[in-house]
Amino acid sequence: MLVLEQYLLMRHELLLTLITLIILVAEISLKGENSHQLRLFSIILFFIVTVIGFIPIQEGNLFGGMYQTSGLIVLMKNILNIGVLIVFIQSYTWLGKEENKIKASEFFLLILSTLIGMNFMISSGDFLMFYIGLELATIPIAALAAYERHKTKSAEAGIKLILSSSLSTGIMLYGISMIYGTTGSIYFKEVAEAFSANNLQTLAFIFFFTGMAFKISIVPFHLWTADVYEGAPINVASYLSVISKGAAVFIFIIIMFTVFRTVTGMWQNALYITTVLTMTVGNLFAIRQKNLKRFLAFSSISQAGFIFLGIIGGNKLGMTSVVYFILVYIFSNLGAFGVVSAIANKTGKENVDDYNGLYSTNPMLSLVMTLALFSLAGIPPFAGFFGKFFLFTAAAEQGFYILVLIGVLNTIISLYYYLLIVKAMFINKSDIAIEHFKSDFYTRLGLIICVAGIFVIGFASPIFEYISSLSFGI
């Protein structure tokens, strides 16, 4: 029987389920009235859950090993929680629009249920929980991508997301079924012991990897990304690019380092090729994008390539730097998306050309954007620089020098296109520059948290040391 202490182990999921139900009941009993209070109420509830998540507890397994938790897993969940909190704050204004008011609380409900799915996924100790968590993290997102019903692009994004994700889960499940057939178990621990990379198992791994690559949007499985990001509402796109991707990377690195730890040679080959492709193709396509959402989509693809640099080595430093990089990436990408969303909410403009001369009219917004882009590009002394630096070090430690070289070259390319946007904002002149406007409190709060995060994480070494004390290598 479970006792209270054991329930405490899964407090993230239980609390999230609880507040999901509270918001659902509140929404039903208010019948769409007081949308403003309900939104604020949801954010405050989630803030409380985020804070409670930081209370340290012991490690442990539940349900016969189906659910596992450790300091690292709790940290990953907390990182995701912080990201979701920022997304909530940023979407407050957007949800207040007349056409979205009536379904504002559904946005919170769906995001929270995907977060429950991600938490279950990260904590999963077997492939069944992993699968259910993954689906729970994907299906509501597709509904959210089609959220703006009066826009054709939004519906298109929704269908593209759900079809490509269901295909990828189908392929992944085929792999899992073969892993089950050859090892006789769906539990991570037992699979890890029985896995030996014979023909069928290698093939099973490739299927599994393909499915994961779809979720993290690794080249050549990235084709859905840009369309979905462009069509979906900006706040949903930012959620997809930061939280969904972060959660998928977390579970991917856990599975690689535990389940497939005996066959590193097999997956390093797969990772090597996809890393090179992802960084390069993501960068090259990002250069030619005119729409900022598509631009950020391709930039996030190439960032995923850099993240893989930390996974490929299979060492402790790699895991530390991946978790650290995701933390930095959450703040910098959400900063960039926050500015895009603030401007699109006011003016509806989201093309690079529209940003010409932004500095002269909206200096604060363009400074935040510059900061976020510099951090994404990895310019010192911002947090992104340290994130990338550690990733490169982790790969170099294991002797992947050519890969690191390609990574550095790609960083330089990425610098070029990030600076293109900075140039548009600061140097280009425009007669039809976006007029000066005052952002409301929530937009500002979201951006301030992002900026603070970029600075604090970059200069506070205890964070990196803390992650390092929790992570493990093969």
Partner: protein
């Protein structure tokens, strides 16, 4: 028994092919239902009686009826669907066929040792299933309830009436 297997497999594969090749969506759905019934037959062969019943109820009874309903609701039963270009099909066949070869090769190359203990025909029945579901598989069961809740909410916001209706 092998005869039954050949029969069911033949029906399943042929109707699966018809799903993919028939031009009208209604025909596809009907063939898919036949295919699912054949697969349910396989489950009974494989000693999974409960799964066979669930499969028929959920897939054939719920999902396929939903498909059929939507096709009729949207009045889609026209046979005017343009098929994709030849090279798309050719690429699909070649890449799919190569993977098929690799897979069958891999399946044949690995010796999977069958389990040789006494055969228990009661293993796939509902009583046994329920006991295990509420012991070992408790957590996935509860987690999938959240999944259904979110799927309901997700389907609901897509159908909810908005105050502003401006079709672009």
């Amino acid at each position: 028994m092998i005869f039954l297997f050949y029969l069911l497999s033949g029906v399943a594969l042929l109707s699966a092919l018809m799903v993919v090749f028939s031009r009208s969506p209604i025909n596809s759905v009907i063939h898919l239902i036949i295919c699912f019934l054949a697969i349910a037959g396989h489950y009974i062969l494989l000693n999974a009686q409960f799964l066979a019943v669930v499969h028929i109820i959920v897939y054939t009874g719920a999902i396929m009826v939903l498909f059929l309903f939507v096709i009729m609701l949207l009045n889609l039963n026209k046979e005017n669907e343009p098929h994709k270009k030849l090279y798309t099909k050719l690429a699909a066949i070649i890449s799919g066929g190569m993977l098929l070869l690799v897979l069958t090769g891999a399946v044949k190359s690995v010796a999977l040792i069958p389990f040789n203990e006494k055969f228990d025909s009661q293993i796939g029945l509902v009583g046994n299933f329920g006991k295990i579901l509420f012991n070992e598989f408790m957590l996935p069961f509860e987690a999938s309830s959240v999944l259904f809740l979110s799927a309901i909410i997700g389907a609901m916001i897509l159908g909810k009436k908005e105050k502003i209706t401006n079709n672009e």
